[in-house]
């Protein structure tokens, strides 16, 4: 907070804005605020390592991996309502067993 005392009078001076967004707040009020007046950035991404990154490299696109994860969620939460029969289809050396072992260890 930027303020000067001149005798008995408290005088506010211009302060640098704390919140840089479209919220219309006077500089004096913004300088007094300890908390942000408006949150504009919500973290939506985070770095994932380990099993996810390892399995991801074995799939053609993310959609196939998402479908597998969608089905495997059934084993985690209650109630069990949609059991699925998931077939990983491919030739030898395509990582089917590796994916299954990863899912087994993760669940």
């Amino acid at each position: 907070m930027s303020s000067n005392t001149n005798g008995d009078t408290l005088i506010f001076t211009k302060a640098a804005r704390v919140v840089h967004d479209e919220v219309v707040v006077s500089d004096d009020v913004a300088g007094l605020c300890l908390m942000p007046l408006k949150s504009t950035v919500i973290p939506t991404q985070w770095s994932l390592h380990g099993v996810y990154e390892f399995i991801k490299s074995l799939f053609i696109s993310d959609v196939e991996l998402l479908a597998l994860m969608w089905c495997m969620e059934n084993a985690i939460t209650d109630p069990i309502d949609t059991s699925k029969f998931v077939i990983l289809y491919g030739g030898s050396g395509n990582g089917k067993s590796t994916v299954i072992k990863c899912v087994e260890s993760a669940l």
Partner: protein
């Protein structure tokens, strides 16, 4: 179905098979339908509901010409065929991560995927299985 298979299906949430033989008539469609349909099964004088999802890897898909039951809507709805065409032998990292935190991360991510993509992903997988079984 044998007693051991019944216990496995009714007592677990995921049943895996690394190399299932799906060609010919080796797999009974009605068994798949009863497991995924959560039918009641008799296990050692008790009637319990099958609760397992089945995850299996296979080099071939069921022969739908010989066994047309695979084309039934009720079966296709419960089926998800996921093609694997990546070259796993060229992976630079071959060791499966075994960290507990990573495993929990993956499990939580599965829950997130289910809540985020409520229905669209599995519909895509079903359409994929329709295409593969055509």
């Amino acid at each position: 179905m044998s007693e051991v298979a019944l216990i496995a299906v009714c007592g677990n949430r995921v049943v895996t098979d690394l190399d299932a033989s799906l060609s010919g008539k080796s797999l009974n469609v009605s068994v798949v339908r009863s497991i995924t349909g959560q039918d009641f099964m008799n296990v050692s004088q008790l009637s319990t509901k099958a609760s397992a999802s089945i995850l299996c890897g296979s080099n071939n898909l069921p022969d739908v010409i010989k066994t047309s039951d695979w084309k039934q809507v009720a079966v296709v709805r419960r089926l998800a065929v996921i093609p694997m065409t990546a070259d796993a032998t060229s992976l630079c990292v071959t060791r499966v991560p075994a960290d507990k935190v990573d495993n929990v991360d993956f499990a939580i991510l599965c829950v997130y995927v289910r809540s985020r993509y409520y229905d669209c992903v599995i519909k895509f997988a079903e359409s994929l299985s329709r295409f593969a079984l055509r």
